[in-house]
Symmetry: C2
Subunit: 202 residues, 2 copies
Amino acid sequence: MATRSAANLEKRRAILDAAIRVFAERGFNHCRVSDIADEAGVAYGLVYHYFKNKDAVLDEVFLERWGLMLEVIEQAQADPELTAREKLAKVATFIVESYGHRPDVMQVVIVEVTRQANTFGRRHWATIQRGHDGIAQIVADAQARGELRPDIPPSFAGIVFYGGIEQILTSWIFGLMPAEPDDRRRAVEHLVETLCGGLDAR
Amino acid sequence: MATRSAANLEKRRAILDAAIRVFAERGFNHCRVSDIADEAGVAYGLVYHYFKNKDAVLDEVFLERWGLMLEVIEQAQADPELTAREKLAKVATFIVESYGHRPDVMQVVIVEVTRQANTFGRRHWATIQRGHDGIAQIVADAQARGELRPDIPPSFAGIVFYGGIEQILTSWIFGLMPAEPDDRRRAVEHLVETLCGGLDAR
DNA sequence: CCGTCGATTGACCGATCAGTCAGTCGGTCG
DNA sequence: CGACCGACTGACTGATCGGTCAATCGACGG
């Protein structure tokens, strides 16, 4: 029975991983459930044995990854040892390294879910919002400590920070910028430096 | 004949405007061509008289708006009278006011085209890129003049700037932030101030 | 008036695809 | 060994929807 359920989980995982690859390559709307089954080397019907429907597969891909991001954001936010810059760098690094490790997952999360104001985006509205709130809280805390200037609304700063990261990932997804390890490290540095230090010459 | 062709253009426009409303409300992938025809008060087949296919309708909605944006960006970039802050504010104001005036158009442009790394996004890759390049050029010029610090790559700064705007619009589209005229003006101010001045306390 | 031609109509066709389901297989337990 | 049960299969169905096209309308010129 333990073997059975372990084998089950492996099959489920195989289907999920196949779905990520297929969604990333052809887009959720332009792939067929049979593509997922073929990619996983599994019969068509088995997808429906493990998942309610096609939407549920995408939901799970998204929630799995976004959940990890939320943990990192909320953990960084609560850490009293870190400066705002360090907290923001930590969050940005996690997202950017998620891309380095699994670009397909991040592409699906961003392109197929986060950015769809209709359909999927709307369904996960609250979960996405939690991430933005966490980042805004990092800014708000730092403002209260006098570390960051108080005249920019934290929610606004959070939106720009997150928007910046998303656009960086999008450039990588499009293949418009290189995304080698060094590029990724520099992207985090530049993002934090731009937002905190500002572009103005000294 | 003049009347005829004017009437033609009006019908075409009516279909295009109907399509914008329908795309914004239900999303390109989840609406039917018959929805567009119904919304325009026109027979199904007439859509195909004026447009090659469903994709072509979306293409035109996108290109029409993005073309205006490109003009503003490239004009601002070339204006020797303006500071970098003024140029960025000009671009941001145009985009933000485009949203104020026609939120549905901007929603379609961003959600249905710009953010689709697959399918549509790929087709308009070069056009989208021209916008990013223009913004990057504004930064590069200012760096050459010593107005902005030289150690952040211009293309990178442009990406963060554009990503910030897009995320602001997305928040408005989701209804997560108010988008009244005052909010819009402040959004531009805060964005430029954040990017140029930086968040660090003085 | 009538012929021409583009605008307009909407029924229809064909392709696609999500989801179903009747059945097979193979391991486990009594 | 046989009954049971859940994993697994994939052909099939029903619905959706993009795109076609033959027919009609109506303005205009001759």
